[in-house]
């Protein structure tokens, strides 16, 4: 079965580079799946859970990403995101604290600018917590 080359770059490291069979990411208006020989494309990645299969029947590898981009070109896929973490790397305690903080900030009067920042942190914290929670299974 054909595969493609996947590269996931976060702002603090090269997260993953290697073969990939299929990739599902949170897109602009819902999840998008990419398989081998996809047409050239550039689109946005939203905060949420991205998953990929290194081989055809391998388990899905989950990655929590925040906003960024994906570029597909000649069977090479570049994912450039602000942060990428595996669920087991996530510090639940920290994420919970961040969520509390963001909720609190959202209840106060803020400028639009501050509102956007708090909202993004809230979304990130929730995505992180969701991935470590018990009730979520993407399969």
């Amino acid at each position: 079965m054909s595969s493609f080359e996947l590269k996931i770059v976060a702002c603090d490291r090269l997260f993953y580079q290697g073969e990939c069979h299929s990739l599902i990411f949170p897109g602009y208006d819902g999840e998008i799946e990419i398989m081998a020989n996809h047409a050239p494309m550039v689109t946005m990645v939203e905060i949420g859970e991205l998953r990929y299969r290194p081989e055809e029947h391998a388990d899905w590898q989950k990655v929590i990403v925040s906003d960024g981009f994906i570029q597909v070109d000649h069977n090479k896929v570049n994912v450039t995101v602000y942060s990428a973490e595996r669920p087991e790397e996530i510090d639940t305690f920290r994420a919970e604290a961040a969520m509390e903080r963001a909720r609190e900030q959202l209840q106060q009067k803020q400028s639009i600018k501050e509102y956007r920042i708090s909202q993004a942190s809230l979304a990130r914290a929730m995505a992180r917590l969701k991935s470590t929670g018990v009730h979520t299974d993407p399969k």
Partner: protein
């Protein structure tokens, strides 16, 4: 000549100072190593963003966008409101590092009309508030331990003003590390982006790739051709404008983060070198002082001996005289 006691006091105080400079040297070298590591880690992210902007611009070179410099409005405007981001350190003791940045920033501010200064770092803020420049009071950030979060907040602030067209151009004054011994202060226009530069670079890159393709053997070429499935279509979803919008925003964040980390690395590097030379100077002074101290001590001993001998001689003479008188 100073007395032995005085010299000893000086030696002691220089020793104490040297302990401090040495400790600062060690701290700086550690921070520098961390900052370098961070800089290396963030590089792929930054290049990747840059490449994507280039790709889009290559496919849509005529697109007009707020973030790019090919808009008609931009050419018509005579007066540009400039925002200047200045990255300085939080404290001194870093050789000429802060001076160089401040000098460049001052020059740039003087050549523009009503510039607004966004200063990161305590040293620069103190200086520009001292000369009554129009410093943004709300804009308070430190360059110590740069994080991507700080870069985001800074970007949010700048981009908001830029989107409201309160700023037409944003410059950034920061220090780049050429190599571990040399650093340069650099003034770069952050916004709007120079469209043609991106396109030129993309063209260069493509030419290079073609050149590489020509050098390949026929077998490799055949293989590459079989993999070719280009439909000539290029999807940008949801729309080029939308994608560029957030791509540009992330690019600014990436750029500011890179600049913050690099400036921090440069500051620590400058401090390390300054502290190294301070330690060297202290050692040289100690060397001179210890020679002087030995000389003074020797002189004192010699003098004492002479005095003793003189005294003894005088006593002897006196005894002889007394014996003769008897």
């Amino acid at each position: 000549m100073a007395s032995a006691k005085e010299i000893q006091n000086r030696i002691k105080s220089i020793n104490d100072t040297m302990k401090i400079t040495r400790a600062m040297y060690m701290m700086s070298s550690m921070k520098l190593r961390k900052a370098r590591q961070r800089l290396d880690n963030t590089e792929p992210y930054f290049y990747s963003l840059q490449e994507q902007i280039r790709e889009i611009l290559y496919h849509f070179p005529d697109m007009e966008h707020l973030y790019f410099d090919n808009r008609d409005e931009d050419e018509q405007e005579k007066v540009k409101r400039r925002g200047i981001i200045v990255l300085t350190g939080d404290k001194g003791m870093a050789g000429a590092y802060n001076h160089n940045v401040i000098k460049e920033a001052k020059q740039l501010a003087e050549t523009s009309e009503n510039p607004r200064l966004f200063i990161v770092g305590e040293v620069g803020r103190n200086f520009f508030e001292g000369i009554q420049a129009s410093v943004e009071k709300e804009f308070r950030f430190s360059t110590n331990h740069p994080t991507i979060h700080r870069a985001r907040v800074i970007t949010e602030e700048i981009v908001e003003l830029y989107q409201q067209e309160e700023l037409d151009e944003v410059y950034i004054v920061c220090t780049r590390m050429v190599n571990s011994m040399k650093q340069e202060t650099e003034v770069t226009r952050l916004l709007p982006f120079a469209t043609h530069e991106f396109i030129d670079q993309e063209l260069l890159e493509r030419a290079r790739e073609e050149q590489a393709a020509k050098n390949r053997t026929s077998e490799e070429l055949a293989e590459a051709a079989s993999q070719e499935y280009d439909t000539g279509e290029y999807i940008i979803y949801p729309s080029p404008y939308e994608v560029l919008n957030s791509l540009a925003y992330n690019y600014v964040t990436g750029y500011i983060y890179g600049a913050l980390v690099e400036a921090f690395a440069c500051e620590e590097n400058a401090r390390m070198i300054a502290m190294q030379s301070a330690t060297d100077n202290a050692e040289a002074m100690l060397h001179d002082l210890s020679i002087e101290y030995n000389r003074v001590r020797q002189a004192a001993i010699t003098q004492e001996i002479t005095e003793v001998i003189g005294g003894a001689k005088a006593l002897k003479k006196k005894k002889k005289k007394q014996q003769a008188e008897r």
